[in-house]
């Protein structure tokens, strides 16, 4: 187990360098960011040159990358164009997005898995059909449509929620955005659980458990669900990263100043320091989530062991 974790951690290093280098190159390809800082007029050449030196943009890209990586290991993620430290931006953006992601994941787990279990055990019944159609609808409708619709109905027409989230973004204001963010994944979780449960419900060990006279609840939760969760956990694990990075749409609609918003601003302003910094952290989150998922397998199914 310990050796496995160490091996996995070592594997992360090349992935980490590779992704950051790619992002760095991609942002740099977009052209000269200083030109956009002066609005619809030309920056005066002397000031532009000064700014380029200040942000290290006058050096060749490989040198910029090396300096950047060097700085990262001392905890210095550079400065955004508005003079704020990128670490400062992260400190405000990440807690908000993490809260939003947690809300979304909780929805996925609670609603998604419960619906999956219910439909998986009642295959072909009306409940199953209704949920299947509903999940199909949710998957088919784009997030921004659901988001704008809920915002309009709950926020403007009925006045149940505020249409925009305040800058502190407390959990209660994040419920509706979290639900919107979770919606598509939630539908997938439901369908994954349903299939997995339906498949395992006919397995020998379930029949054995039922034959032993175990209470139905115990059969479902301890025997059936535990074995059926492996694909679901894999999905939810990778979804953590996807939700954090992919929250751009939801965050824009509900005015949440999280990671998605900062990334969007960073890209619009071609601020490589912000973009690379945020993506680097997202890459780390993604890698960590994947590792945790792999380790969870052993908990769910003790037959899976890591040497």
């Amino acid at each position: 187990m310990g050796r496995y974790v160490i091996r996995r951690l070592l594997q992360m290093i090349p992935v980490f360098f590779g992704t950051t280098l790619l992002i760095f190159l991609m942002v740099n390809v977009m052209g000269d960011p200083i030109a956009g800082l002066c609005g619809d007029r030309q920056c005066d050449p002397a000031t532009a040159a000064q700014l380029r030196t200040e942000f290290g943009l006058d050096k060749p890209v490989w040198q910029q990358y090396l300096t950047y990586m060097g700085n990262i290991f001392t905890g210095d993620f550079g400065t955004a164009f508005n003079g704020q430290k990128v670490t400062e931006l992260m400190a405000t953006a990440f807690p908000i997005t993490i809260r939003l992601t947690v809300v979304a994941i909780v929805f996925e787990i609670v609603i998604g898995i419960s619906l999956g279990v219910v439909t998986g055990l009642r295959r072909g019944r009306p409940v199953d059909t209704v949920v299947l159609i509903l999940t199909l609808v949710v998957i088919a409708v784009p997030t921004f449509v659901t988001g704008l619709l809920l915002q309009l109905l709950l926020g403007v027409e009925w006045g149940i929620i505020k249409p925009s989230v305040s800058s502190e973004a407390p959990v209660d204001e994040l419920i509706v955005p979290g639900l919107v963010l979770a919606s598509v994944s939630l539908a997938y979780v439901t369908r994954l659980t349903r299939t997995s449960i339906a498949e395992n419900a006919r397995a020998d060990y379930v029949r054995t458990a039922v034959a032993k006279g175990l209470p139905r609840r115990r059969v479902v939760v301890r025997h059936l669900l535990r074995n059926s969760l492996i694909p679901v956990v894999t999905f939810i694990g990778t979804d953590v990263g996807a939700l954090m990075g992919g929250a751009i749409v939801t965050e824009r609609i509900f005015n949440i100043h999280g990671v998605g918003y900062q990334l969007y601003q960073g890209i619009l302003r071609q601020n490589s320091q912000t973009v690379v910094g945020f993506v680097t952290v997202l890459v780390l989150v993604f890698l960590a989530a994947n590792l945790i998922v792999d380790l969870l397998y052993a908990v769910l199914d003790p037959r899976i062991r890591y040497a």
Partner: protein, 542 residues
């Protein structure tokens, strides 16, 4: 908030289950009347909030509330009026003596003296401080020493500025510029307190100024609370208790918040909502001219565009654009077809002249086609109009302009749009002369003067003359106008220079942009100034 009690309870139940706080209604806080707080939409300022470093509307908005300078532009007429300045005098339009009023202080109690101005201007002009508006000080003698085009500065301060005593200083310009005092209302010219230099970082995190408001709280990137400064010495004291600025990720969300009653003021109604705005807001929607003009610019560094024939082509193209149709259908009348190169906010006296462009800016299908053909056709056979596709919904109108031109030419390929991914990339292509066709250009005035609409854009090698157009007659007339000591003569001479633009059509004027804003029924007396920034201090809370 209409009957939704049950649904609200349901949501509250979920909220409580997820360890949440109370489910309150929309509480705007602050009470009403003279102490009422107005909440307003905001965008994240692009640059650090320093007067000489802020060149866009979002940061400018804050500076307008927190600072007052020598001169202030009347929020209604745009006329430059003395604010802190007692008088600004000159005998030769080149050496100015500025006397300031004695009773002004910063909100931290520090007295405003002549030195507060001179130090601030020296700071703004110095190359080492990276101030993006440094070029505003270019007319002051010694600017080329403290801010050379390249290399390092050979002087630390502007030689043209001298403090005479506590309330007087002199400014020597490097050329005659009779309207110079009228430029001093721009935010780059405001005085700065000692705290600015002593602890720069602390000042940036909470700027201290001398305007009707003080900054109470500033959470960078998300919100700012401004409160009325009760000891403000100026005449334009704030009529409300303060302003809460809230950064929105999307102006559509801000508009939704306004219609839901969570926000008092939106100063940028999204284009997509213009169709609904009258049913949503009624007369609480403002649509007034702003000092912004939009144009099509051409590359004169490309030989094909710098020929006598190309003049006719440009005039023809200008006549091929159906401005009336595009402004009413695409912009829902938030733009006005342009018929000169300035802006209606200048007023007749300030140099705006409706129809100065004459028939060259009027839609005339037959004549347009004739002129383009006489001029030898569009260089390269196709006009490509470049624009940035990330913001401002430029695609719609560029396509419409091209449609209009294609119709006239009877050729579907005569004009195409050329999208560029980001604004920064677009600007970098424009400013490094990479574009070979036309591009969209826009100009937002820095100060309400006809000079500002002409000199920075069309004078030979001027900083924003991106197309590198050059014309001796135009340059001479601008120089002459700047030397005139009488304002009215200066304005008419500038208009003479503008007539050169009619003959040559270096850029095609398209339309004047309006400022658009909407407000809630909780506030009144809302208006936009000529810079399309809300006049915050005049807003009253009911």
């Amino acid at each position: 908030m209409r009957g939704a009690t049950q649904a609200r309870w349901a949501v509250c139940a979920v909220a409580v289950a997820l360890t949440a706080t109370a489910c309150g209604g929309g509480d705007s806080g602050g009470g009403g009347g003279a102490d009422g707080i107005v909440s307003s939409s905001w965008g994240d300022p692009q640059n650090p909030l320093e007067p000489a470093n802020t060149n866009e509307v979002q940061g400018g908005k804050v500076l307008d509330m927190v600072f007052r300078g020598l001169v202030r532009y009347d929020p209604k007429t745009g006329e430059a009026k003395n604010e802190i300045a007692e008088k600004i005098e000159s005998k030769d339009s080149q050496n100015f003596t500025i006397t300031i009023k004695d009773n002004w202080t910063f909100s931290n109690g520090e007295k405003i003296t002549a030195k507060s101005f001179v130090d601030a201007w020296n700071y703004g002009a110095a190359l080492k401080n990276n101030q993006k508006n440094a070029y505003f000080f270019q007319y002051i003698d010694g600017y080329d020493k403290v801010h050379p085009e390249s290399g390092s500065a050979s002087a630390g301060t502007l030689s043209g500025l001298k403090v005479v005593n506590g309330t007087t200083f002199t400014a020597k310009l490097s050329q005659k510029f009779s309207l110079w005092p009228d430029t001093l209302g721009y935010a780059a010219f405001v005085p700065l307190p000692k705290a600015f230099y002593d602890d720069h970082d602390a000042w940036l995190s909470k700027p201290v100024g001398n305007g009707p408001y003080t900054i109470d709280q500033y959470a960078k990137g998300s919100s700012m609370s401004l409160r009325r400064w009760d000891d403000y010495p100026g005449a334009d004291k704030a009529q409300n208790g303060g302003i809460d600025l809230k950064v929105y990720t999307d102006n559509n969300t801000a508009y939704t918040d306004l219609t839901a009653g969570n926000l008092d003021l939106v100063d940028d109604v999204p284009a997509a909502q213009l169709k609904n705005v009258s049913s949503d807001l009624g007369d609480r929607y403002i649509n007034t001219p702003a000092g912004i003009i939009q144009t099509l610019a051409f590359p004169f560094y490309e030989k094909a565009w710098d020929t006598p024939g190309a003049i006719k082509v440009r005039q023809g193209l200008s006549m091929a654009i159906n401005r009336d149709q595009i402004t009413s259908q695409i912009f829902q009348k938030t733009r006005t077809p342009a018929s000169d190169w300035t802006s209606p906010v200048l007023g007749e006296e300030g140099g705006f002249k409706k129809g100065l462009c004459g028939p060259s800016c009027e839609y005339d299908k037959a004549q347009a086609k004739k002129l383009i053909q006489e001029g030898g056709g569009i260089p390269g056979g196709q006009l490509k109009i470049s624009y940035n596709a990330d913001t401002g919904s430029h695609k719609e109108w560029v396509d419409a302009v091209c449609n209009s031109i294609n119709n006239v030419m009877g050729n579907n390929k005569a004009c195409v749009g050329g999208p560029v991914g980001t604004f920064a990339d677009f600007r970098s292509q424009v400013s490094t002369q990479k574009l070979t066709g036309a591009w969209r250009a826009g100009w937002q005035m820095d100060y309400p003067l006809i000079q500002n609409f002409l000199q920075p854009l069309y004078y030979t090698n001027a900083p924003s003359n991106d197309g590198k157009w050059s014309d001796k007659k135009f340059d001479d007339l601008v120089d002459k106008a700047n030397g005139e000591s009488d304002k009215a003569t200066a304005v008419t001479t500038f208009q003479d220079a503008e007539k050169v633009l009619v003959e040559q059509m270096p850029v095609i004027p398209l339309w004047y942009q309006n400022g658009s804003a909407g407000y809630s029924d909780r506030v009144e007396n809302v208006s936009l100034n000529p810079f399309s920034v809300p006049v915050y201090d005049q807003i009253k809370v009911k």
